[in-house]
């Protein structure tokens, strides 16, 4: 029990230190490709400290994917999470409506990146083409701007465990657009930006 409390304390300190570094970067330079890259490197450095994230501290998914909050900032702040996804877990091409960075602790998750090629004028219709891919595995990460599009799939034969840092906490996420090349369609999930606000 004492060992678990100790790892939780050290983890909380490390997560706060990461967040402080992220704010130091964005406060002076804002969010742009260069600062997003710097944020990714900070997140990869934290994920490399696997001793801070012992599996015993985090419940495995009941189905195939589970997200554990690590540090959720108040108001419109950032959200840092530990994600566990089992082999085969996938997500269709989507944006987040806000920037995000991922870094692997263990396992391998392939991120395919897409570009939208239609004019967006027909509701519910969209065309996307694959433009690149990154394997997120230990020592590696990826970063996306607000409307970059990626698809994910866990390709290791054991769980992919990683860190995910979002510009907004998941509970205050904007609308997410999901793209389906098979159907040439796009569908959106509702924004949570003001779900908890008094009206």
């Amino acid at each position: 029990m004492a060992k678990r409390a100790d790892s939780a304390t050290r983890r909380a300190r490390a997560c706060q230190a990461l967040m402080d570094k992220v704010h130091a970067i964005t406060a002076t330079e804002g969010i742009n490709p260069s600062t997003l890259h710097a944020i990714k490197l900070k997140l990869v450095a934290l994920a490399n400290r696997a001793e801070l994230f012992p599996l015993n501290d985090f419940a495995m998914p009941i189905a195939e994917a589970r997200t554990h909050p690590l540090l959720i900032e108040d108001d419109d702040g950032h959200g840092l999470y530990l994600t566990i996804s089992l082999p085969g877990k996938e997500a269709a091409p989507h944006d987040h409506g806000i920037w995000c960075a991922n870094a692997a602790i263990s396992g391998r998750e392939r991120h395919d990146f897409y570009r939208r090629t239609d004019d967006g004028k027909r509701a519910g219709r969209a065309e996307v083409i694959k433009v690149g891919e990154v394997m997120v595995e230990p020592g590696m990460g990826m970063v996306m701007a607000d409307h970059d599009i990626h698809a994910t799939e866990v390709v290791s034969d054991h769980p992919a465990i990683g860190l995910a840092l979002y510009g907004y906490a998941l509970a205050r996420f904007p609308s997410v657009s999901w793209f389906h090349p098979e159907f040439m369609s796009v569908r959106a999930t509702a924004s949570r930006r003001h779900a908890g606000d008094a009206r």
């Binding site: 994917a65 519910g124 997410v176």
Partner: protein, 100 residues
């Protein structure tokens, strides 16, 4: 579709349609291919927009997130059309509407 796939009949109550669905396709894929306006968003087991009641029949579920379909929901007869492949003839009713 693989050569070994079986074809099952899937009835979508909301649209009063019965369609063919191979055992290696999800109910959502078959429904959209048949022109049914089935509600969906992520189509990969993350958002639960396509959550449906499985009225009859059996399905196999592809990987999904805990938050999209809990164990208690699954035991109570709910499923995700985007993750459900038929193991028999199936009758299903979607519970939500989508926003394009």
């Amino acid at each position: 579709m693989s050569d070994a796939a079986s074809i099952f009949r899937v009835t979508v109550r909301n649209s009063e349609r019965t369609i063919d669905c191979p055992s290696d396709r999800t109910i959502l894929q078959a429904a959209i291919a048949s022109g049914i306006d089935f509600p969906y968003a992520c189509a990969t087991g993350n958002c639960a927009t396509c959550i449906s009641r499985l009225e009859a029949g059996e399905v196999a579920l592809l990987p999904r997130s805990d938050t999209a379909l809990g164990d208690a929901q699954r035991r109570s007869g709910l499923t995700l059309a985007c993750r459900a492949r038929p193991l028999s003839d199936v009758t299903i009713t979607w519970l939500a509407r989508s926003s394009a």
